[in-house]
Every structure is written in structure tokens, then in C-alpha cells.
Amino acid sequence: MAFLEVDDLHVTFPTDDGMVRSVGGLTFALERGRTLGIVGESGSGKSVTSMAIMGLLKTGRPVITGAIRLDGLDLVTSTPDRVRRLRGKKMAMIFQDPLSAMHPFYTVGRQIVEAYQVHNDVSRAVARKHAVDMLGRIGIPRPDRRVDDYPHQFSGGMRQRAMIAMALSCDPDLLIADEPTTALDVTVQAQILDLIRDLQRDFDTAVIVITHDLGVVAELADDILVMYAGRAVEHASSEDLFEKAEHPYTWGLLGSVPRLDVEPTARLAQIPGTPPSMINLPTGCAFHPRCRYAVANEGLSETETPELENVGEGHQVACHLPPGVRRGIFADDIRPRLEGR
């Protein structure tokens, strides 16, 4: 049994316009010390998935079915208070914009102290010392002084470090990083990614990195889950995804990444169209209206939803294209363009 198991997770929100299916049957597993990258466009359900794991989906009264087992305990059927006791202690989360994610009226130290004291019955002095230790550990210079600063007195990168210190203050087994570098300067992004990787090694934490940026998961992730319209379309090891991607949507994502190491000869291969409305999902494969290969399936993509199928060791794809055709397209068409661009 894996440390974290998500099994056929469905999340549906009732809205005035009808039921919105944010996540529709997601299954994956994650071991301690491993990093899973979840990649997808806005609205693909990646953030909802992470919030569902954390038990933070409250607004809108979503209907959650399936199972989320953390160390064997099903979080979906647990009481809210049971899940709350795990939050911050066994599983922690860092967010996209560290400025808005920290309380503007409390010092950074106080916010870390608070996170530590919820789950540890220690005096404020002990908790404060722990906060200083954590700040020092994540690379804040002179932590004994900066601990009394307010979030707005930190730089963007420092704030994200402080958020990470807060998330790791209770030594969680699972860390979810939701777009951890999106709001940061490019120069700082690499530092934060390095920090997360180093800390993961030190703490032996399971990490889920949620991002729309394949560059981020390339840095961090052991495995990558590509989501589209609330479902997984491809799940592979990091190497396989970049070397042997089989889903047309993944190809689109790979083609959208700008490269600095090759001469820019052509435009970026963007994915045509926009992500689908979650209220009115396309029938069949949700990606088919934007997929230039769907016509080859003679109507199957429009009517049947493809299931994830194993195509190799730890590599799954949900696509109606025959495996041979997919590999052919990737080898003959996609790969040369990725490399030659």
C-alpha cells in the first residue's frame, strides 16, 4: 500500500448552472520520498485535487466520492475534525502567492509559531526557537531578527521560503506545492525549486507539485500526471514523459515550452482553442475538439471516453489512437520539432 493513494476521485460542485465536474475519476499513488508533478491548464482540476486531499474544499459544498488514503486512512470518509488534525502535521501545503497567503497583520515568526503550536504542546518560547531554526534552515539570513518581520518586509522569494518553513514546521509526510514558483521572479524560481528538492531529501517527504509549467516538474518530479478536464490523460515517469510522451495533449504542452538552448526558428507549437467549460464537457474524449489527430479515430474520440491504459512500466495513457500510431507520430513528427526548434 502506497503512502498516498487517490482512488477514483470525483469532485463535483453544484452551481446555479448545474453540476460542475471538476475532477472525474482520478487515480494515482505516491510513496514517501517521491515527487509527483501534476500538470495541466487552468481548470484541469489539479488544484481541486490538492484541495480535496487537504480537506480544504468547503466552499460550494462539493460532492466528493472515491477514496483518498493517507497512510491507510481514508480522508474522504473521515470526520472534518480528524482531517483537520492531520492538516499541517501529516500533510502541509504551500501556495502560489506567498504575499496573499500570509496574514498581513502577524509577523512571519508568529505565523510559524502558530502552525507549530497547533500540533505540538509546547511553550511559545520553544515554538519561537523552532521558528527561528526553521527560517535558518530554509536559508533566511539572520533568522533571529527576521522572525519578527512582517510578510510585507520580506522579498517575494523570502516569503515563499517562509511559507515553506511554515509548511514544514511540523515535519509533514506529505507536502503539496500548488504553483510554488508562479508568482516569483525567474531568478528566484530555481532557488525555491532547489530548496524544495533539498528539503524533500532531508525530511523524506512525499511531494506533490502542481503546476502548468513543465519546466518546474522537469526539475522536481519523479513522476508526472498530466490532467485535462478533470481526468488524467497521461501518467509517466519524468524521463518517459519527456522522451516518450504518447498523448496529443502532452505533445501540445511539450511544444509550448520555450527553449533557450536552440535557435528559435519557428513559432511555439501552441495548443489550439481553449480548455473546455466544465459545465458543458465535450462528449467522448474531452480533448477531441482541440486534437488534430482525433479525426483518425473515425468518431471514436467523439463518443467514447478513453480509459487510462498501461503502455509501459509505470506509463499510462488515455487515448484512442492505436499505440503504434502514437509512437509513430511522436518519433516522426513531434520529437524532431521539439529538438529542432
Binding site: 488534525r85 492538516r87 501545503m93 497583520f105 512582517y150
Partner: protein, 330 residues
Amino acid sequence: MGGFLVRRFLGAIMLLVITSIVTFAIFFVVPRMAGQTVDQLAAQYVGKDPSPAEIEATKEKLGLDRPLVVQYGQFVKGVVAGREFTFGATREYCPPPCFGYSFKTQRPVWPDLVDRIGVTASLALGASVLWLVAGVAIGVLSALRKGTFFDRAAMFTALAGVSLPIFFTGLLSLALFRPSGVNYVPFTDNPLEWADNLLLPWVTLAFLYAALYARLTRAGMLETMGEDFIRTARAKGLTEPVVVTRHALRATLTPILTVFGLDIGLLLGGAVLTESTYSLPGIGRYAIDAINNNDLPQVLGVTMIAALFIVLANLTVDILYAVADPRVRL
């Protein structure tokens, strides 16, 4: 912080000086610009059927024949350092802050004002505690139960509270609960009777303001509960009461305290409607009487007092805001 305080303090004094100039001008300059002669102005200060000799004497006594700048200087000197008045053969010293003598009662204005500040302060402070506690509590509960029966009922009541004028709710409350009316008893005389008599005015005034504060708090809480830092607080594993109070309410309360300070400042300058409705001898009633009697020294005095409270309230709010919100740079 020190520089900020000095700056704000000087600004407050400047504001008071400007208020005094404007007020003074309204009563002593504008009438002249409208064509009123000095003689006519002086005649108002004498009484019915003044003789030319009396008018002349009054002009000299009040210095109305002097240049306006000198007159204003005298007025300011009276407020700051006190001033001597000559009444025929007697000379009387009016200690600072001297706003002169009421035309009607012939009594110095300031001591009367001081007596009335107690009444208005009792009314305003008592009511403000009630409305702040009730308004914020109702607002928070409404926000947390948005859309429920409680929320709808509370917001309907709040709408009624904002809409119903105090002379309606006040008179209604008197008719229902205390047909004999209320009599102000100073706190120092008898605290129990003080509270007993003020209870109705407190509740009536607080009803109006609590309604406003409930709506403000509800709107603020709804906005704050959607903030990222609330999600962070929950992600830490804090219990919901801690998330609501220590994180959401703390952020919501800051702008509300600002409004609160200004409201109190405004009320201390006279809760005109409430005092009139309950016949409480406060600053507001004093102002009404002064205006009705065309009693210029009283009007000047009451205007300056009201301005002082508003300026002080603004100053306090600014300082408190800087303390409450660390992002405000001093």
C-alpha cells in the same frame, strides 16, 4: 513613528485653526459682506430697541469697530489665554478657553459646554460599546451563515435599523417602555440611576449604528473569508473558531475600527437627534438652542468643540490604524 505623530499633531492643530477662522468668518465677516453694517451687528448684541449710545458702547466693548484681523486675534487670545470684558463699570475676567458670554443667559459659554459634554459623552460612549459588540457579533454570525434564515432576519433588521429615524424609534421606545421620560443623572451622583435613565437612549442609538456595523462586518468578513491567508490558516490545521476570530476577524476589524473612531468623534460633538428626542441636556441640544436663539458665542463655542472632537477622533484613528496594520508606514 515620532515624526508621524508630530506631523499628525501639527496637522490637527492647523485644522482647528482653519475651523476657527471659517467659523469666525461665517459669523462676523459674511454678514458684513451681505451688507450688514457694524451698527446692525452690534445692535444684535444689545437687545430690543437699542439706543444709539448703547450700540456705540457695545461696539466698543466687543471691539466690533476694530479691524477684523484684530477681532479674530482677540477671539483666539480668549480661547487660548482668556480675555477681559468690560460691562459698564465692572470688568470681568473670562478664563481660557474663553468663548465669550451667552447673549441670552449672560453666562460664560465654556463652563456650560463642559457640563453638557458629560451628558453627550455618557450617551455616546455607552451606546458605542453596545453597537460595536452587537454589530460586529451579528455581522460575523451573518457572514458565517450567509443565506440562512438567521442571516436574512439579521440583515432585514439591520435594514430597518438603518432606515428608521431616531425620532421615530426613540419616541416609540419612550411610549412603550418609559412614558415618564428620562432624566439625566450624572454618573458621579448615582451610577445606577445614570445607567437606568440612559439605557433607552443607548439602545435606540446603538440600534441605528449596530445595524450599520453589522452590515459592514458582514461584508468585510465575507471578503476576508475568501482571502488566501484564510486558506493558509486552515491548511495549518487551526480550528475553525481560531480561523474565524484570530485570522478573519482580526483583518476585518481594522477598517471597522476606523469608522468607529470617526463615528464616536462625530457623536461627541452632539448627538443632536437622540438628545432632542429624549430631552437630554447634551451638546447637541445646546447647539440647537444656540442656533434658535441666534446666540453667536454659544454657536461658536459648540462648533469649536465639535470640531475638536472630530479632529481628535481622526488623529486617534490614524494612530490606531498604524498600530493595527503593520503595512501602514509611519
